[in-house]
Every structure is written in C-alpha cells, then in structure tokens.
C-alpha cells in the first residue's frame, strides 16, 4: 500500500538560512511525487512535482526537491528562507498506473525574522 511520512510536525528556521522539509514514501515501483503548500485561509497550492528525469526538481517560489530512490525520499529545500514561506507543507505520492494520491500529515514551517 502507498504511504507517505513527514516525520516533523514543525520546522523552525531563521530567515535567510536554508530550509529542509522531509518526506519519505512507500509505493510499488516508481512514484509520482509532489509538494503542496497551504497558507492560512487559502487552498492548497502546487509547488513542484517529480515525474521522471532529473532527480533535482525546481518549483515555484525558489523551492526545489530531490528525489532519492535508494532512500525513498523527496525532501523539499530552499537555499534561503523567507518569513513569507511560513505555511503548512504537504508531500504527496501517486503510484504509477493509479490515480489515487496519498498525502502526508503535513509539516508546519515557521521562518523566524
């Protein structure tokens, strides 16, 4: 069965420092992987996806994520955090050949000025 784990409920980082939000997954075969962000009182917004090809994926707002097949991870990263990046981040996986998305429980990112 597909599953996604976001081991940290909350990540705190100082503005200007690099940030990492962790995600590991479990699927049969090669996955499709996604990151979404949820700002207060707003809907989930797509950040980036891994479908195939380069393991390093670049997305919106300067975010990137690295697909690591051996570690079954897809950690979200940004070189320099902004206070405005503070939000709830969700990792999601979809098994190839299916249309069902499995979301993690979310990680709250807090960027401190």
């Amino acid at each position: 069965a597909q599953s996604v784990a976001q081991p940290e409920d909350q990540v705190n980082v100082a503005e200007g420092n690099p940030l990492t939000v962790k995600c590991t997954y479990s699927v049969s075969g090669n996955p499709y992987l996604f990151w979404y962000v949820q700002y207060p009182n707003r809907g989930l917004q797509f950040l980036l996806k891994y479908i195939t090809g380069d393991n390093l994926v670049k997305g919106s707002y300067g975010f990137e994520a690295e697909f690591n097949k051996s570690q079954t991870s897809f950690h979200l990263k940004k070189p320099s955090a902004l206070v405005s990046d503070s939000a709830l981040y969700f990792c999601a996986v979809r098994e190839r050949g299916t249309y069902k998305y499995i979301f993690g429980t979310g990680t709250r990112l807090k960027v401190l000025a």
């Binding site: 996604v4 499709y32 996604f34 979404y36 707003r42 809907g43 989930l44 917004q45 797509f46 996806k49 479908i51 969700f90 999601a92 979809r94 299916t98 249309y99 069902k100 998305y101 499995i102 979301f103 993690g104 429980t105 979310g106």
Partner: protein
Amino acid sequence: GAGVSQTPSNKVTEKGKYVELRCDPISGHTALYWYRQSLGQGPEFLIYFQGTGAADDSGLPNDRFFAVRPEGSVSTLKIQRTERGDSAVYLCASSLTAGQGTYEQYFGPGTRLTVT
C-alpha cells in the same frame, strides 16, 4: 482565470441529515478529485472522476457517501445520514487528464462541514 470553486464554504447540519457539497472545476479539466481533510491531517482521497465516470471510488468511507459528475464538469458530493465523525473540510481538486502528462491538481478552498 477562474480557479476551482466550492459551495457552500461552510455547512452546519444536524446529525442524521442529508447534505450536498458542490464543486466547480477549472474549465477544461477533465479530472476531478474529492478529498476530506480532518484537523491536523493531510487530505484523504475519497473519489476520482475522469469525465463523467468515477474511475476510482475506493476512498469513500461507506455507502452513506456518494458523488456524481453528470456532465463531466460540476460535481456534487452527497452525504446521507450525517454523523458527527463526518465533520471535516471537504476539498475538491481538478487537473488536466493524467493521460496528457500533467498531474498537478488545483484545489478549491474547501467546504467546512460541521455535524452537530
């Protein structure tokens, strides 16, 4: 352009009542998803439509839940004999058909359902 819209934004109902939640997807998006998000959790898949048909309804928790998309655009999630445990935010998302290689979903703002 217009995004995914959901109505109502909030719905309070009594236990045992019937409710309908509506989703208007982005024009041209043939794929439509319903999710349920409980407090402190990620979205939980309920059902996926490709066009008018439910291609995967494996996430519907029981037969009190039903969804339709009769013309391949607007979708309605229907919950019969509501229970307090049904209280959650119900999210709708749409995307271009997966067969075209575009997989990101565009989410609506959700309907917050409270069953008293």
